[in-house]
Structure formats: structure tokens, C-alpha cells
Subunit: 342 residues, 3 copies
């Protein structure tokens, strides 16, 4: 791909270098080689620019550069432009329409002729598998599931009864969609009585689920992950939760039941969200924080339990010296007593 | 089902409405429709009563109600009565005695004729699978495993060598029962030398294990989950732990090795329990807390490391202002110095 | 095995008892029976010595003993000697060279005749499976994967495209090697645009991965787990991380992308490591701690965010009384005001 074509396709402009230059791949500053285009988004990595072997680089409009032997594409958001370049160089592979002879498809399932179903996949009755779907080997699809166009389900995934996966979704390996919610009532003998979990999970369109993640069905009703939400590995989504559009949930975060995660919310790694609450649109919970209360839209929250991130930063700085503070307090107390005694 | 029949089956009494009313299902306040029975257990949701479309409601004996157009069943514990109603409306489905032709059963395994074994299930030698067991597709049962009557194992589960699953257990998708404990000794060259893990896991009766949970076998001996204990998704149970009867372990909690979790203990989400300790009966660890010491029976513990929940609540309230406290301390110190100088 | 043979094989010396004594197994103090050898490494368990039914015991060179009816083997490190004894009594089982007829092997894969491949295993094209490898049933190996000599892959594991597993590795059940890293750029419409993840994962030699663990591939390049590193259950390793030799990562710990974990580092349970940082060789992060900054070699770090473990221990002790401290501060303030008013 010529540099000028790449500029066009990534909505960037040539600031330095020859538009006819051949670009053959894209990679990070430290990995890129001759013929590759790279990027700088975080100023922290500026020093790596002088050593990169890349032939071209995406830079934000305002970023400086001290090299003249490298082509430069300017973009409003260099990271986004680089992402678009990567997507050009590594397009999604086409499926090969086929059903492996060792797949076990219930006769009462409806399978589009234009999908790819791997070995040892099991598809239950009354399932509907749409055009362009790829089921990797060893996927299990329970009865009554529908999977929308162009979705990809990786090996080891289980999708439980009546769940719905929309178009253009990806579910990575060994994740579980629709297992029973964790619900019990304590009976008169203090034993736990299981509450039936007969609801389902709906993944809307452009949802991506990482590997080894568990999304429980509702007891009655739905757990719903909305358009474009992205969920990382080893995440727990409890029964009856709603994850709104474009929310981003990082690895090992857990949601108890019936909570609502707003649009474009970011839950960083290992966050905990208690049940029956609402995290407002565009809020952020930083890594390892937790909340048992609603979070206002747009707030940045940290700590256990979470509070305003700026206050938390001050508190954590003071905390490191808390042992000394306690000692200082005792000292001040005795100095006051002495003054009082005078 | 008639209202009076439902009352009888749920140990509740008709307080309002016609005993002959037909009830066709059960659901939460916001989801229930005409013909359904719903419930109110948490006073927080009282306002939803005026909007519910349910035809009947379970109420605790002491709960008020301002509607007269809805049938009322009074119970000592409305949540428990509702659970019993749900169980009537959504009974466990019967198994269909069968072994799928694509299941691979070792000839030296003993399989009851009254169990249901799905496609691509693999059962090793010397296994015993009892009456009423359902193995969903793609389950793997290693050699020497026994699975007791009426237990259900979901797709993607692995049960390792010689483990024992008692009667009426449920194991959800992609969980691992009996993988090696994490044990190594450091050798003279500072490399880790693997300690053989040749013990097993025993799940007693009425145990439920969520999805994507890992329960390690003991190095020598047993890891044991006792009658009626319930374990959620993505939980780690280390080697040689014992989980006592009716304990409840929520999602993403982890137990290091050789600890004992007492009867009816509740470990909330993302709790951490260090090794070789005992959490006493009926203790509670709140979400995201941790302990590296024994916990006395009946205590409620919070924080990292955990301490008394009431003290912790006070501490967390103060913590939010810790930055200001540190500043205040400096200010008091200089005021005292000034007084001392006078 | 005679006691004198065991002493020789474990580099220990007979301090008490008859070298001709028959030892038939090894187990912990509480489980060991007649004929077994046990060990004491942690002085905490010294009281159990008087009750153990073991016939022999490994003791550290300096440990006391009040029993004369038990054989004693002295070792520099009793735990290591016991580990070696266990390994003698429970050697790794040999594989049975075979490919199960229900395994699905791509014709373009290269499978050594001396490996054991279980039922329903799926191996993609261009894979290379070396001598001595054991793939348990229901393993899925994507295209282009290589697995080195004597490695063991347990049921439910997925190994994604082009990943490499070195010699003498073990991967436990339902783990995922090489799923997509969690990378997105925000586009002009505030939707997440997926960044292609086309790199791979390399496990070097003697690496062990627990069950239900997720190791993501790099976007471009490699995620690498080096020689002898051990990773527990339910661990998250983000894209492009490097885990150096002999590092030990305990259960439910998570690494965000592009971080480097140094040699012999220990990350205890539920630790969080932010992205793009370096944990120096021999550092330790205690359970539930986290860092968003580099950690110096050899440091012991605790807390969220983590700081020096000794300071943290003081801080946590003070924290329990933080509510009282806040009150004390108010009291001192008013006493000072009173003094100032005099």
C-alpha cells in the first residue's frame, strides 16, 4: 500500500516523506521494521522514536519530531489512525462455508448455508445460526439459541438455553454465556434453596466478550449487553445486569446482580460493583475500586468503597504515612496535656 | 394454579383476593405481568408496588400495602415463599435417558441406564455415573470419577482423576474440578520444583458450583466441599481447603490452600482468604475484603486486611478525608509549637 | 523404598532410626500413616509432630524433636527434601502413544508417533506436536501451533493460532492461550474500534499454567512466559506482557498489557499490575496489592496502590483506629483553641 493511499484510508495527511512509499505493515515503535508504519500517542514513548526502524509514523497534529528520515502522517488521533492501518493490513479472515462432519447439529436447528462450523461443535434444537457466523471447534450451543450474522464464537464457549447473540459479536475461548445466576433463599432449616434461573442473556450487536468470562442469565427476564460494549477476560456479570452501549469492562471485574452500567462507562481491572445500583454514563472506576452505591454520570471514582478520584489520590498519599500520623497524634496529645498542665 | 393452592404450597396465607384466582407464573415486581405472582422482600422496592402489573404478591407478615386490586399472600419470609412459587412454575426438567452416539465412554466405566449423556462427552475408565445424572455435551470426566444421583454437569466442565461428585449437585460451564494445586518447592538453583498433586476433590450432596470456577485437588488427601455449600462463578478454591455445610462463596473470591470455611459462612464477591486458616461458622466477609488470620464465628469482617465491620465503616468514612486530616495535623502541630514558644 | 535409599535420593541424612526401614509413601503431618514419611518446615506445626502416625519425618538441620519412635531424616530444606520424596512416590505417569479415533487431526499437522492424543481433540493445520506430548480429551489446538516435547495439555484448553508451547510445560483445564488482547481505539462517534490482535503467545520450557487462566496474544509481536515461570488458576496475562524466568504468579492476579514481571518475582493472590511497567527481579507483591508504577528489584510491596510492606503494616494497624483518630484530631483541635483563647 502506498503511503498516500494509507493516508487517505486513515483520514491522515502526509507531513513528511514520499506519498509513493510502500508500506507493508504496522506495528508498535519497538517492534516495527523497515516498510512498517508505527505511531506515537503517549508522549512517554517519545524517546523510542529515535530508535524505531519503522519507515513511517502516525503523529498527533501537535506532536514534535526530530527525525527527517521517516515518513510522517499527521492525524487528529494518531492511535485511531494506527488502528485503522492495522485493520487494513490485518483484515478479518473470510469464513469458509462448511459444517465439519464431526459437528453435531440438531435436526431442528436452522443453520445458514453460509456459515463455518468446526469439528465437535454441538448445536441444540431450535437454534438459528445466521450467515457469516464462525463457530470454532468444541463450541457448545444449547437449545433455542440464536447467533446473528458475522459473529465469531471461539472454542470452549458454552451458550446456554435461549440466549441471543447479535450480529458482529465475538466471544473468546471458554467463556460462558447464560449460566445460572447465583440466587438462593434461606429456608427454615438454614439451608439454601435454589431460586430457578430461567431467564436468558442477550448480547446485542458489535459486542466482544473476552476469554474465561461468565455472564449469568436472569432469574426471570434478561441480562443484556448492549451495542458495542466490550468485556475483557475473566469478568463476572451477574444475573439481570444491563451493560449499556460502548461500555468497557476490563479484566477480572465483577458485577453482582441487577446493576446497570451506563454508556461509555469504563470499569478498569478488578473492579467490584455491588448489586441493584447504577453507574452513570461516562463514569470511570479505576482499577481495584468498588462501589456499593450509585455513581453519578461522568464521575471518576477510586478506592474501596469508591469516592472521588482526586480525594482518593490525596488520601492514598497520606495513607503511606498513617503509621507516622498516629504517632504524631499521640505526641501532639501529650504536648497539649503538658501545656494544659502549666 | 389456583391462588389457594399456591398459598398452601408456599406455606403462606391469603390476606386479600380470591382463592380461586389463576396464577400462571412468578416474576419480580418490574417484570411480572397479569396472571403472575410477585414479591416484596426489601422495603427499598416498596414504591414499585404501585406500578407492578402482577395479579398477586407475596408480602412479609408485617409489610403494609396500599393497593386493593392485587391478591396478597402473607408469609413469614416473602422471598422464600416466592422462591417456592418459582420452583413450582419452573420445575427442573426430567432427563431423557440416553447416551449420545458421539459420546466416548470407556468400556471400564459404569454408567447407569437412567442417565443422559450428551454429544462429545468423554468418560474415562473406572468412572461410576449414577441414576438421573445429566452430562451436557463436551463434558470431560477423567478416570476414576464418581458422580452421584441426579447431578447435572454442564458443557465444558472437566472433572479430574478420582474426584467425587455427590448426589444432587450442579456444576456450571467450564469449571474445573480437581486440577493440580499450586505447590512448588524452591530448589538449590532457585528453580521451582513441582510438588506432586495426587489428592482429589470431593463435592458432597446439594453442592452447586458456578461457571469458570477452579477447585484444586489436594497434594495428598482431599479438598472437600460439604453438603449444600454454594460456590459462584470464577472462584478459586486452593488445594486441601474444606468448605463446610451451607457456606456461600460469591464470585471471584479466592481461597489459598488448606483453609477451612465454616458452616453458613458468607464470603461476598472478590474476597481473599489466605492459607492455613479457619473462618468460623456464620462469619461474613464483605466484598473485596481479605484475611490472613482466623476469623471468629459470627463476626462480620471488612477491609484488607479484614477487621470488625463497624470499625471499618468508621475508618472508611474518615479515610475519605485523610488528605485533609494530614493537613490538619500539620496545622495543629504548628499551633502547638507557637503555644509552647509563648 | 528403604530409608537409607530415600535419604540418598533426597540429599538428606539419617539422624534417627533404622536405614533399612521400609517407607511406602509421603504425606503431610495430619494425613500421613504408618509407613509414610512426613515433614516439618513451618515451626507453627511443631505441635502436630506428637500426633503424627508417620514412620519417618524430614526435619530441617536445626529443628528439635521430642519423639524417639520416629525415624528422622535431616535436610538443609525439609520441604524440598519432602517434595523430592513425593516425586519419587508419585512419578509422572508415562504416556501411552496413541491417537484416539475420535480426535480430529488436520492432515497438514505434524504429529510425533510418540504422543498421546485423547478423544475429541482438535488439532489444526500446520501444527507440530512433539514426542511425549499428552493432549487430554476435548483440547482445541488452532492452526500453526507448536507443542514441545513432554508437555501436557489438559481438557478444555484452547491454544490459539501460531502460539508456541515449549518442552515440559503443563497447561491445566479450560485455560486459554492466545486469545485476543483487549485493545480498542475510540472513534469519532465514541464507539470502540477493535485493534487487530495478530501476535502470539510463547510459553518457554518448564512453564506451568493453572486452570481457567487467560493469556492474551500481543497485538503485534509476542506475549512471552519464560523458563520455569509458574502461573496459577484464574490469572489474567494481558497482551504483550513478559513474565521472566521462575516468576510465580498466584491465583486471580491480573496483568494489564505490556508489563514485564522480573525473574523470581512473586505475585501473591489477587494482585493487580497496571500496564507498561516493570516489576524488578525478586520483588514480591503481597496478596490483593496493586501497582501502577515500576517496582524496584527485591522490594516487598503491599497495598493499593502498593508501597513498602513494612510501612504498609504500620499503616494498616493505624487504619483500624482511623475513626477514633479522626475524633481525637477534633478533640485536640478544640483543646488547642481553648489554650489559644486563654
Amino acid at each position: 500500500m502506498k503511503l498516500f493511499e494509507l493516508a487517505e484510508a486513515t483520514f491522515s495527511t502526509i507531513d513528511q516523506g514520499d506519498g509513493g512509499l510502500n508500506i507493508i505493515g504496522a506495528a508498535g515503535l519497538d517492534i516495527a521494521g523497515p516498510g512498517d508504519i508505527t505511531f506515537l500517542a503517549n508522549p512517554k514513548y517519545t524517546p523510542q522514536i529515535k530508535d524505531t526502524k519503522a519507515s513511517a509514523i502516525f503523529l498527533n497534529d501537535d506532536a514534535g519530531l526530530e527525525r527527517i528520515d521517516i515518513a510522517v502522517l499527521r492525524a487528529k488521533d494518531a492511535y485511531l489512525a494506527y488502528t485503522r492501518a492495522l485493520r487494513l493490513f490485518y483484515p478479518r479472515r473470510d469464513i469458509v462455508s462448511s459444517v465439519h462432519p464431526a459437528a453435531i447439529i440438531d435436526p431442528a436447528a436452522t443453520i445458514s448455508p453460509n456459515c463455518e462450523i468446526g469439528a465437535n461443535v454441538v448445536v441444540g434444537k431450535d437454534c438459528r445460526i445466521a450467515d457469516g457466523v464462525k463457530l470454532f471447534p468444541n463450541v457448545t450451543v444449547y437449545d433455542g439459541v440464536s447467533i446473528g450474522r458475522n459473529s465469531i464464537i471461539h472454542s470452549g464457549v458454552s451458550i446456554r438455553e435461549n440466549c441471543e447473540v447479535g450480529e458482529n459479536c465475538i466471544v473468546h475461548n471458554n467463556s460462558t454465556i447464560g449460566s445460572d445466576g447465583f440466587g438462593y433463599a434461606k429456608d427454615e432449616d438454614k439451608h439454601w434453596l435454589k431460586i430457578p434461573q430461567v431467564g436468558r442473556v442477550v448480547l446485542e450487536v458489535y459486542v466482544e466478550i473476552g476469554s474465561n468470562t461468565a455472564i449469568d442469565c436472569a432469574s426471570v427476564g434478561e441480562t443484556r449487553i448492549k451495542r458495542g460494549a466490550k468485556i475483557d477476560n475473566l469478568v463476572q456479570i451477574g444475573h439481570s445486569c444491563t451493560v449499556e452501549e460502548d461500555a468497557l469492562i476490563c479484566s477480572q471485574t465483577g458485577l453482582a446482580g441487577s446493576s446497570v452500567i451506563g454508556k461509555r462507562v469504563i470499569l478498569a481491572g478488578q473492579v467490584g460493583i455491588a448489586g441493584h445500583l447504577r453507574v452513570g454514563d461516562d463514569a470511570v472506576l479505576t482499577a481495584k475500586s468498588a462501589t456499593s452505591h450509585d455513581v453519578e454520570p461522568g464521575k471518576i471514582i477510586s478506592g474501596i468503597p469508591g469516592f472521588d478520584n482526586k480525594d482518593w489520590l490525596r488520601a492514598t498519599a497520606a495513607y503511606r504515612k498513617l503509621g507516622a500520623m498516629a504517632q504524631k497524634l499521640r505526641e501532639l496529645s501529650s504536648r497539649i496535656s503538658k501545656l494544659e498542665g502549666e
